[in-house]
Amino acid sequence: MRITTVAVRGLALGVVIMATHSYAANAVAAAGATVIAPLAINKSANLSFGSFAPGTGGSVTVSTSGVRVADNTILSTANSSPTAAQFAVSGDPAATFDISVVASTTLDDGAGHSMALVTCSDLTGANTTSGNVAAGTLSAAGSQSLFVGGTLSVAAAQMPGLYSGSIAVTVEYN
């Protein structure tokens, strides 16, 4: 009889341990995010076609490396230094981004005369004369250059003057 009592006590003790045990478990996790500054783009050089005469009418092209080529126009080197436009894009290191260079625009002399401009662009100034770059990758330092050239359509009777316009370039992280 005494033996049985001991055994029952042992069983009861076990049940009490189970009933007082807490089942819930908790884990802590880290949460994080990286907020980055918007992409920046700054112009460091303008696109310039220099001086030229219309000739029989044709075009003047400045490549992304600043090389100027005439097609039925007459180039002048006087007071003239053709350059490609250059932009500096800066942002998060190694980030990729979309580039949008306006495909065409118009230069005018402010007196009702104009010339059509078709743009071209690349990331390295590699003498590109047609087509626009659509994507880039920032360097490990978070920078990337962008070069823009173009082809200007010149009429045979193009009025002499100083023609100007602007080229819109947009960059955005992707």
């Binding site: 033996i3 076990g14 189970m18 819930a24 478990a25 884990a27 802590v28 880290a30 949460a31 907020v35």
Partner: protein
């Protein structure tokens, strides 16, 4: 006590132990964090960045997500008794934020998979994934934000 009586006692104590041991093992449920929750890289604007429990990231408003910082859902490993049903308790809105110096951004809308009740596998384990929504405002100071949150599991 005679020898037969002692043997009888040992047998009964052994039986009592056998009865208690499985009950004690069943009482243990554990959860370990195995992957942090990350909202990745983005440019701030008014809106939100959501990482769902499956790890897919999306943004609202004018927030721009960067491919170079994709984000991920948190992952936990829950262990306990085979086939046991357990409940999942996630932080409620307004209780978690991540900070960078003096800047703070709220983490709300916690969601998990399994949603609110999990079932441990025959092996006694289950993966629990947790996502959330980061409520962002324009002009949030750029930088690395960090914080913590807790997940509680309990047998039903």
């Amino acid at each position: 006590m005679s020898l037969p009586q002692r043997n009888h006692l040992r047998l009964l104590l052994a039986l009592a132990s056998c009865t208690c041991l499985p009950l004690l093992q069943a009482a243990n449920i554990a959860i370990v964090n195995s992957q942090l929750l990350s909202f990745g890289k983005f440019v701030a604007a008014n809106g939100s960045v959501t990482v769902n429990p499956g790890g897919t990231r999306s943004a609202s408003g004018a927030i721009v997500l960067l491919q170079t910082g994709p984000g991920q859902a948190a992952q936990f490993v829950v262990t306990g008794d085979a086939d046991a049903v357990y409940s999942v308790s996630l932080p409620i809105d307004g209780t978690v934020s991540i900070t960078n110096g003096g800047s703070s951004v709220a983490v709300n809308g916690f969601a998990s998979n399994p949603v609110s009740t999990g079932v441990l596998q025959v092996s006694g384990t289950q993966i629990l994934n947790v996502g959330a929504r980061l409520d962002v405002t324009a002009g949030l100071t750029p930088g690395a934000y960090s914080g913590t949150f807790s997940v509680v599991v309990d047998y039903n």
